[in-house]
Each structure stands twice: as C-alpha cells, then as structure tokens.
Symmetry: C2
C-alpha cells in the first residue's frame, strides 16, 4: 500500500480502531484484532499493523498480554488526592469495588534517602508494605508504603495485624505532601501491573505528617497511566 501526503497508513488504522472502541463495537477488555489479522484486513505488512496497535496501546486505549492478544482498556478511575488517602473510599462512593493484595510486608531499618524523607534517625524501625490494587481483576497501581513504627503504634498495630490492608486507607496523619509525575514503568512494577516495561505511567509520592508536622508515612505509588485521573481542590491563599 503506497501513500503520499495523506495520513500515514498506520495512523489510519489507528483511527479505525479508535473509532471502533468509541462506537462501542469493542467494549472493555474485548480483544482487538491481532497483528496478523489487521495486516490482512488492511492489506499492509504485519510490521505496519503492529505499529498501529502499539500506537493504540501507547494512547492507553488498549493493553497487551504477551502471547494472548491486545485488549480494550477499561475506563479511568478518579482519585481525589486533595482529600487524600481515601482512594478506596472514594471508589466505593462511585460504586467501584477495589481489591487489595498484600505482596510483601517487612520490618526494616531506616537508611539512605528514607532517613531524610521521614526525618528519622538511621536504624529507626520501619514497617514496609507493598500492595497491588486492582479493580475487577484489572491492576491499577502498586504501592510501597513505609511507616515509622513508633509514631503510629496506636493507629497501626503493625505488619501482623489482620486488618492491615484496610488500615492504611483510614486517615493516617493530618497533612500530606503529594507529588505526581509521568514516568516510565520499570520492569518489576510493569510486570505486576500487566503492562509493557517502560511504557508511560504515573508515579505518585505521598509524605504524610501528624499534627506536629512530623513525618509518619511515605508512600510511593506506581499507576497504570491510562487508569489514573487525579483530582484536587486548590485554595488561593492570599
């Protein structure tokens, strides 16, 4: 297929696929045509079909499962970072069920950048938990949370607690500094999220403080970018 001065062929295929998704012909988690099928359908080489599918994926409209196919991404979830730390509660209010899986729970000693971030002395006892958050079986983000043990003994009984997975999402602290940025998904979190390594995602860091301003908890979240949508309310201080 030759082409002069018009839209690139692979771009036309992208538009076709996007239209099908928008139209509802392809619904959430439905399989997209495979590379080979698209190649035949549009009479292009497989590489061109592949470029088109990769573009749709890069836009966050689809995700791929190795050796299985590409599928339509589910809709975005809203996360109100302003009222913070209640992503789960907020999701519940929207009628969205969230599943949390505790991947790892350890007790470590403060070192490296954590010392500065948490204003904790070297060797301070810290609880560290890694969780994978899903909705309807679809991975949304991975969270690694580091808590200063002594500063929240009452609020948080420690890694042995059964209700651990919910605990984090009841308010811990009084204020939180949040940073959000785009990032490339490293292989490890990408695997957990079922995403391609190094595809674009969202990284979020939260540092929670208590009434006195002392850090309690540092949380690092890695989101599938196309799943995330962050809201906040700003107040013009003057």
């Amino acid at each position: 297929m030759t082409n002069t001065h018009a839209l690139p062929v692979f771009r036309q295929i992208v538009d076709d696929l996007k239209r099908q998704i928008a139209d509802g012909q392809l619904t959430e988690h439905a399989a997209l045509p495979s590379e080979r099928v698209i190649a035949e359908l549009h009479a292009v080489s497989r590489m061109t079909a592949r470029r088109a599918l990769e573009a749709v994926e890069a836009e966050g409209l689809a995700y791929s499962k190795r050796r299985q196919g590409r599928f339509v991404s589910p809709k975005r979830l809203m996360y109100d970072v302003g009222s913070m730390a209640n992503f789960v509660a907020g999701a519940a209010a929207q009628g969205i069920e969230i599943e949390m899986e505790l991947l790892e729970s350890t007790t470590i000693q403060a070192s490296g950048t954590l010392v500065e971030t948490l204003s904790a002395a070297h060797g301070t006892k810290l609880y560290q938990n890694t969780r994978l958050i899903r909705s309807k079986g679809h991975s949304i983000f991975v969270e690694t949370e580091t808590v200063i043990a002594e500063r929240c003994a009452a609020l948080w009984p420690g890694p042995d607690n059964v209700d651990l997975q919910r605990q984090r999402y009841s308010p811990l602290g009084h204020t939180a500094e949040i940073v959000i940025r785009m990032c490339a998904l490293e292989p490890d979190p990408a695997r957990l999220l079922g995403a391609m390594p190094y595809q674009a995602g969202i990284e979020q860091e939260q540092l929670s403080r208590d009434e006195s301003g002392a850090p309690i908890c540092f949380s690092h979240q890695i989101w599938r970018g196309e799943m995330a949508q962050f809201s906040a309310t700003a107040i013009i201080s003057r």
Copy 2:
C-alpha cells in the same frame, strides 16, 4: 547480532544511552547519536537502533526534532497545583525563567460543554486565550483558558489588555478544582510542543470559582509529560 535469553539488544542500547545521560556525558539538549550511527556503533540494523531511540524518547529522556535528530530532555519543573495558578511565580522562586507566548485571543459565546462547566447561559460572553509556555526556549505546555467576561471585568480588563499574559497568573478566584491525567498528545498541541503526535503527555483541567462558588474561569493545559511534576498538599478532613 543474535541474542538468546539475555536482555533484548535494543534494550541494551537503551541502557547504554541512559547511562550516558545519567553520567553527564550527554547533557541537556545535547544531540544523541543518530539512528544510523547507533546502528553502526552497535552493529545492529537501523530499525533496531530506531527502536532503542524511540524507547529512550518514550521514557521522556529525549525528544526528537524531525530531520534534525534526537536530543536529551531538560530536567523536570515542579508545579504546585495546591497553591495553584502560580506556576510562573513558583518557577521564578526556583530561579527558572518562563516565557509565555499568546497564540490566540478571541471573544466567543458560551456553547456546548462550556455552558455546563462554567454554569453560564448559552451565548454568555467569554474570553478565550491560548498560550504556549516555554522555559529556555523549550516548550512545556499549552494552555487554553476560557473566562466569563462579566464575572471578572474588574480583575481582568479583557483581551485588549497589554499585561494580559501575566494577568492570568495572579490569583483569579478563590478555589479551583483540578484534574490531572495522562493523555496522548493530539497532533495540534504536539506540534506546538515540538513533540511527536500521540506520544504520552499530561492533561490538566482547572475550574476556578469565586467566593460564592460561581465558576469564573476554565483552563485546559496540555503538558509535555516528561517536563511536568505536580505537587499538592492534602489535608485530612475528619
């Protein structure tokens, strides 16, 4: 070059380039080796070299200029969305100069989704401005701002005002609802930003309200994702 069970070849090239950037061998805005040079250097086909460079680009570590080459991306800028609307002031405090270019300034009448968003009657007079924000000649984001004329006559003299470009960045309103999400850059903003169409970026919407809660201004910003970093402070209300 054959390869079994190790890292894919193009990934190794990516790591090599990333190392050079991290080491400082390649500094901000320095040209990366071209596709053909990398192909020769690593003894791979041009397509493989290309994949590597595209991957580096997708990670936000480089940007490409058509027919000129690929260059190392500058460092991220921080934007405090919590205190809002003072991105320029914030940047100044960091010693970063920001340039604003007014691309378009029109007076329109409320219609479509703007009617709902701004709670304005159909046909209400609106000022609409599109600006491109740069730092050191490097495009960062495009903003389209829609202001209800009558609700801010005093604060904002209208599109004829000379100081227009600064005006917006002095607090307008008392609160703002902000939404941040990852997106694919549409061809138009991509061109303005000097980015590839459909690469991943950040989309931000701000709805400013006055003391009474009435909407004043709706702002839609499209950021080069690798340039953005958004911070906020959350308060746990309980």
